[in-house]
């Protein structure tokens, strides 16, 4: 077992242990904290696929995070009010079933990513960063100016959406759902990375011309990766909305894009469990330093600066060393 594998296990099991320790200590608040880590890590896992493996520095993943959140919010609102989402030409009702909501969130995010990706992936470098940001801002302002679902005030989910056989209002059970989804997406990421597709994606980052010379279109590979990445981040958004029982345009704002990117960079770009390490550090700092001073992000900035300047591999780079080839 390589050192990175050991650290991955420690991180994975560590996150699983936190809520149970919290429960024994009678501090249920920490369960919510751990759930936040799991959900934000999931958003990072999604971005890591595009950013880490494919080298696509998307500064617009908040769009997918927010769309996932709104999918949960809108479906739940319609289900709660018992109004159909669509009356004509066919009746589509809302839903408070998480499985349905997840599917809808994934499908819509994939569709939006397909459109955004098809346009943005024709550019590269700083233009790609700016165009993805521009698309995310477009969706952000659309959400603000659309009064039907709360506009700037956002949308409350009165009862947390359900999951067959579980009581999602119980923090531990909801945590376990989020944790299971995170682990499933990490598993999918690992399989993708080690597959032929993953190899082609990494080559598309390094040398697209050579990839084309072997008969694979770099654009198509990147687009598929971008869509999968967006779907995972969208799924995280749906869970995040359910955690807070609230969704607002702030989920779509560019700060969120930046935060998701920070999880990935702090944890280690392209490292499988990097986003989990990054999100955990982020939340811990937000909680403890945020309790001391409201300017806690100053310290976050300093740490981020140090990571970018001195340890390119992020937290996993410090602990597991440079990535060695299998």
């Amino acid at each position: 077992m390589s050192r990175e594998t050991v650290i991955n296990w420690v991180l994975g099991l560590g996150l699983l242990a936190v809520p149970f320790i919290a429960l024994m200590q009678g501090e249920p608040f920490y369960i919510t904290l751990a759930t936040r880590v799991a959900i934000l890590a999931l958003a990072g896992v999604g971005l890591n696929l595009a950013l880490g493996l494919g080298g696509m520095v998307s500064f617009g993943h908040a769009a997918f995070f927010g769309i996932g959140g709104y999918a949960a919010g809108i479906l739940a609102t319609h289900a709660f009010n018992q109004e159909p989402l669509l009356a004509w030409p066919l009746t589509v009702s809302g839903s408070s079933d998480m499985l349905v909501i997840w599917l809808v969130a994934i499908a819509i995010c994939a569709l939006v990513a397909l459109v955004i990706g098809a346009i943005t992936l024709r550019t590269s470098g700083v233009y790609f960063i700016m165009i993805t940001l521009a698309f995310a801002q477009m969706i952000y302002y659309f959400a603000i100016s659309w009064p039907a679902y709360g506009g700037e005030d956002g949308l409350s989910i009165y009862v947390r959406n359900g999951f067959p056989g579980l009581n999602t209002l119980d923090p531990i059970q909801f945590f376990l759902i989020c944790y299971a989804v995170l682990m499933a997406c990490l598993f999918i990421s690992a399989r993708l990375r080690d597959s032929r597709f993953g190899a082609a994606l990494q080559v598309a980052r390094q040398n697209p011309d050579r990839l084309a010379a072997t008969g694979i279109a770099p654009f198509n590979i990147r687009l598929v990766a971008f869509v999968i990445s967006a779907a995972m981040t969208g799924l995280a958004g749906a869970l995040f909305a359910d955690l807070n029982r609230f969704v607002s345009p702030s989920m779509l704002s560019w700060h969120v894009s930046g935060e998701i990117m920070i999880f990935v960079i702090l944890g280690g770009v392209g490292r499988l469990f990097g986003p989990l390490a990054g999100a955990a550090l982020f939340i811990v700092m937000e909680f403890y330093l945020g309790g001391i001073t409201e300017h806690w992000q100053l310290f976050l900035g300093i740490i981020l600066l140090c990571v970018v300047l001195f340890v390119r591999g992020g937290i996993l780079g410090i602990m597991a060393g440079r990535r060695v080839h299998a």
């Binding site: 032929r196 190899a199 082609a200 990494q202 080559v203 390094q206 040398n207 011309d209 050579r210 990839l211 084309a212 010379a213 072997t214 008969g215 694979i216 279109a217 770099p218 080839h325 299998a326």
Partner: protein
């Protein structure tokens, strides 16, 4: 006709590099593309693979016009390029380098491993840790994994130790024996003359001579190839 290039003209920005290259090859042939440094051999190859666009002339491969195609389409038609300077994918393992390029056909991992046993020994090693000769073998193996109808070798023995060169030449001879069509650029005339069915010489971006190795006398060698 496998490949037919007529009146090919290419430009690097505003400076013209090819002024009219003609080349034709039949299936199963080994054609040597020759000329001194800077005469347009690699540019011809880059143009025909559509890695760089060309402005005038036609390139036909199995009666498809390549002029309108994007590079990956050209590769899928069956042109396997072993580029100058090898250009393996450094952060992938040997195995991944081969598998990523694979297309259905006779060439499999196993068959590449038989052609280059060294690759089989090093299959899980990162390509960046291979020696130059092994990287060259990997580049050839990667091109073969696409099951090309035409294999293009651009300076495949450049900068390699004599022993390794012989290994590469032996592999190329084996491929020729199996009926593989090969377009080859190389500096070592001796091996090239033994292997090629026909030669085309480029001078200042133009085709100036075409014929069999037997016809390539001392005078022509001096005129177009001598330094």
């Amino acid at each position: 006709m496998l490949l037919q290039i007529e009146g090919l003209q290419s430009f690097y920005g505003r400076s013209q590099a090819l002024f009219g290259v003609n080349l034709a090859m039949e299936e199963g042939e080994v054609v040597a593309l020759m000329g001194r440094n800077g005469m347009g051999k690699t540019t011809t190859i880059r143009s025909l693979c559509r890695i760089m666009p060309y402005r005038h002339g036609t390139v036909r491969f199995l009666s498809h016009d390549l002029g309108v195609m994007r590079p990956h389409r050209v590769a899928r038609l069956g042109i396997g390029l072993v580029p100058e300077g090898r250009r393996c994918f450094p952060n992938l393992s040997v195995h991944e380098n081969l598998v990523v390029a694979a297309r259905p056909g006779d060439w499999s991992l196993e068959r590449v491993g038989r052609l280059f046993p060294r690759l089989r020994e090093r299959h899980s090693q990162s390509a960046s840790t291979l020696s130059g000769g092994e990287q060259q073998m990997l580049a050839i193996g990667r091109a073969l994994m696409t099951n090309p109808k035409l294999l293009i070798l651009d300076e495949a023995t450049e900068g390699l130790a004599p022993v390794i060169r012989q290994e590469i030449w032996a592999a190329v001879r084996e491929l020729k024996g199996e009926g593989q069509s090969i377009l080859i650029v190389d500096k070592t005339l001796k091996e090239l003359m033994q292997l090629a069915d026909r030669c085309t010489i480029l001078e200042r971006g133009m085709s100036v001579w075409d014929g069999t190795p037997a016809d390539l006398g001392e005078d022509i060698q001096d005129r177009f190839l001598g330094v």
